[in-house]
Symmetry: C2
Subunit: 544 residues, 2 copies
């Protein structure tokens, strides 16, 4: 398997900022709050607020306790059940006593090329400084954002969690970057792959080292003491890799032991706080990959170490085909909530130059399918209220009110797009469906899990095809679940869409299966397939 | 995913016959028998005898009850716990009253081009006629091979099972072939993919049709009545596909219901026979693929429908990396035995022109790893005593005494070869690790699960590399589990081996991990990797 690389910088370049403002939503009444305990309701959303977005996006604004708290209000009266408040990368965005805060080494009066920022490319400096400065200023003003959010979330009937990134490696191609801890810089011998820089995670910490585990456990101890949260999320998916290649099996015991220690710590705080404190883990989307990276999730669940499990891609794309059924079977007999994680990018193959983002319709598609397959929750990662956010941000309030429950998704326009899994254990063979170069006269098949069958509206198979003429597409046979579907023409998709022409084939609704639908294509001329989609009720798609 | 095709004919051409004779092994004493009940011992082997091999390979011999029975004796005093006696393809090899026996339409006095055999290529006719004629003759002489074997197996302390192929599609490219049932020929509308012939399984029966289920259930009813077996195996892996593409989810209920009906039938026979009658299923090697093909194995296990589960590739290669841990987790809390299925071919990629077979050393490698990962048994499919058999047939008696238990495999010479999974649900993305075209200066990684670490002997990483000079290999970096391993030279492997030159790198034993070992290679020039292996204690490998 080829090892490729991307960095936070490429990510930020690839995902241009789009900003929108939201009216605060009304605060919940006590009765309403009582009726929506997160443990008693099926479905719902978890929403992750990352460690930089708020600080960077609110730079220059006058931030009081109330303005900070008001950020929570947009999630009140929505399907958001848990706010997962991320406090750290290698540094913390609050004034930690045990880790470096993000403003360590920062001179608020200094220029943009002061030592802390000197290595950061000019194009990224403003965003970085906005984050650092706002966090520094808030701390100076005695405001702890996380404390304020926790309090307000409870008032709004939303469960407040703290999310800790367990091994964040943004910008590790630049060892001088402002974002790194001194501990990381001082100990390259603790990096999991010190002999190269392939993917960023090569320079992640090696949890095989007890110094590394202690360093991270220190922050957990501080978080448990400092914040009265309902739950703690161990976000192992930033960036997913925690051991030297080939040392993952030994890692299984290490991560299970680590999780046990965290559970014990939370037990002790439960007694002090007088309420249950849950534990969650974010892990890769497929069981064998997770195990191959050292996550023995089934043991964690069996031993009641975790209350929630988030199965998720890393970042490169939303994963529309997470094997939820197998995860449910693995968690059988435990009370662990299974949460399907969505990322904000949507890409159809790893080599794609396109870095488009999800929209209301593509999230509806993924969520409708994952919930139908048995997910207890949908988790939104990088779906924040500006910048790192969905493309059609005007639909964000709607998304927060729809994406967590089958009944609010039912019969709405939605798009099911074939993507790929972006996280694999070292040396694990990768299953990547697209792009595919087709030979003339051969058959190629794809499947899309599309959830409940809609009771009305148009259903279309949409294929992005390169290097083939429209008349050659017309002579190709396309079948869905074994039956021929008629080509209706080239269509103009709204984003996300491929650069290639998209051909639409009409799928009679009676052909649809709940669960996987299999598309088979039999092109009469060579071509390249770069996009495969089933769209439902998308009347907005125009035929050229 | 490209859909490719192979037929029994290609198979037979690819796997030339190699014949060896075996001395009968001594019959077990009563005391010895008592000490080896199959249910109380960990490990062991299941051995499948297919529906044609005996008849074809014993053609022309004088077959009496005793000579037939003596076939069993070679498996006495070995690690074989269960003999899985296969009775059918689309026809039966015994005189069925409900299905066509293999000799239906056969004229024993006729020529080789008589109507039954007319469509069969001349090169295959003799083998076909040998099978048909021997089965016909045995029946004429009043000998029921399966009945005789069941009786002798019990005497030998081996558990006799009947294995039924649930959807065999050998030779379906030739609809006139002797091997097909009239039912199949008469009902092309029952074929699962009537609109093309891609892989053979396109012309498998569609179990979505109740006529198809009834047809197969009729044979099961007859088998249960005719034979007093310890267990019945439903061999779904001949050929693995039982529904129209896209109809697999509806198939889940159908197969679970079918399995329930079979279990009820066996329950009724348990009362008549006065002993437990087990049920087993052979299914694809990976949980999500199995589910994607309609096999809801976890439900079968939970509802106590099955006692044994065989997870296995189809045929194209032995699969050395079956995710046993995940299967074990899925079967947790049930008493279902998990059996890892081996096939006789060993190939490193699907497009390979090589059709080599396993040897004692490659089976040791696969078995040592799969047992170490938690398999309760090793299942030998196509490991018969001649023709369809391992390459080094002189080692067959040894294999039968070693391959089922960690203690008999320990520290023996063994080979761990990277292969691939050959069965995927329709439209499922395929993870195929080889071949891989390497770019200069990039890193590529592979993993091999190698089981317990040997306590002595040499360990080597062996890579088959095309289009690269020996000096360019010498300048390439190779690491195992993160540490550099030294190139020792080009080696001459015994079979199986690639056509490309094989380079050996020395792995210090202390580097080895139990479980996956990760090989990373960093070639300085472009090359193609076609073979990846870790060999242990293979002193016979010579350095050129």
């Amino acid at each position: 398997m080829k090892i490729s690389q991307f960095t936070r910088r490429q990510y930020l370049q690839a995902v241009p900022a789009s900003v929108a403002a939201f009216a605060s939503m009304p605060v919940l009444g006590a009765k309403e709050k009582a009726s929506r305990s997160s443990t008693t309701q099926a479905g719902g959303l978890c929403l992750n607020e990352d460690n930089s977005h708020y600080f960077s996006s609110r730079a220059g604004q006058k931030l009081t306790t109330e303005t900070v708290a008001a950020w929570v209000d947009q999630y009140a009266n929505t399907q958001v059940r848990e706010l997962m408040l991320c406090v750290n990368c290698m540094r913390t965005s609050y004034n930690s006593n045990v880790w470096d805060p993000i403003w360590k080494g920062y001179d608020p009066a200094g220029s943009d090329d002061q030592p802390l920022l000197a290595s950061t490319p000019a194009a990224s400096r403003k965003g970085a400084r906005d984050w650092i400065h706002t966090a520094w200023q808030l701390n100076k003003n005695g405001l702890d954002v996380y404390q304020i959010w926790i309090t307000r979330a409870r008032k709004q009937g939303i469960s407040p969690w703290i999310s800790m990134r367990m091994n964040d490696v943004h910008n590790v191609d630049d060892t001088r970057s402002y974002i790194h801890s001194e501990f990381w810089r001082a100990h390259p011998e603790y990096w999991r792959v010190p002999y190269r820089l392939g993917p960023s995670a090569d320079r992640a910490f090696d949890y095989g080292r007890h110094e590394v585990r202690e360093h991270h456990f220190n922050l957990i101890r501080e978080l448990a003491e400092r914040y009265d949260f309902d739950g703690l999320e161990l976000d192992w998916m930033r960036f997913g890799y925690h051991f030297k290649p080939g040392h993952e099996r030994a890692g299984i015991e290490i991560l299970t032991d680590f999780t046990t220690q965290v559970r014990r710590l939370l037990d002790s705080w439960e007694r002090k706080r007088g309420h249950k404190i849950k534990l969650s883990a974010r892990v890769p989307s497929r069981p064998q990959t997770a195990l191959g990276l050292g996550y023995d999730v089934v043991t964690w669940a069996q031993h009641k170490l975790i209350d929630m499990l988030v199965v998720t891609p890393f970042w490169a794309t939303i994963e529309t085909d997470i094997p939820i059924e197998t995860w449910k079977n693995l968690l059988r007999g435990t009370s662990v909530q299974l949460v399907a994680g969505l990322e904000v990018l949507i890409r159809t193959h790893p080599e794609s130059k396109q870095f488009q983002k999800n929209t209301l319709e593509t999230v509806r598609g993924a969520a409708a399918s994952l919930l139908d397959r048995g997910a207890d929750r949908i988790y939104l990662f990088n779906y924040m209220d500006s910048q790192t956010a969905m493309d059609d941000l005007q639909n964000y309030p709607t998304l927060l009110r729809e994406a967590g429950k089958p009944e609010t998704l039912s019969n709405k326009p939605r798009r099911h797009i074939l993507t790929f899994a972006d996280t694999w254990a070292p040396g694990e063979p990768r299953a990547i469906p697209l792009p595919i170069q087709c030979a003339a006269g051969s058959w190629y098949s794809f499947r899309l899990a599309t959830g409940p069958i809609p009771t009305s509206g148009k259903v279309q198979a949409l294929l992005g095809l390169e290097n083939i003429s429209a008349s050659d597409v017309a002579s190709s046979e396309l079948r869905v679940n074994g039956e021929i579907c008629k080509l209706t023409g080239v269509v103009e998709l709204q984003k996300p869409k491929p650069e290639a022409p998209v051909y639409s084939f009409e799928i009679p609704r009676t052909l649809l299966q709940r669960g996987y639908n299999v598309i088979e294509i039999h092109p009469q001329q060579p071509c390249k397939i770069v996009w495969v989609e089933i769209a439902m009720n998308m009347n907005a798609i125009s035929t050229r």
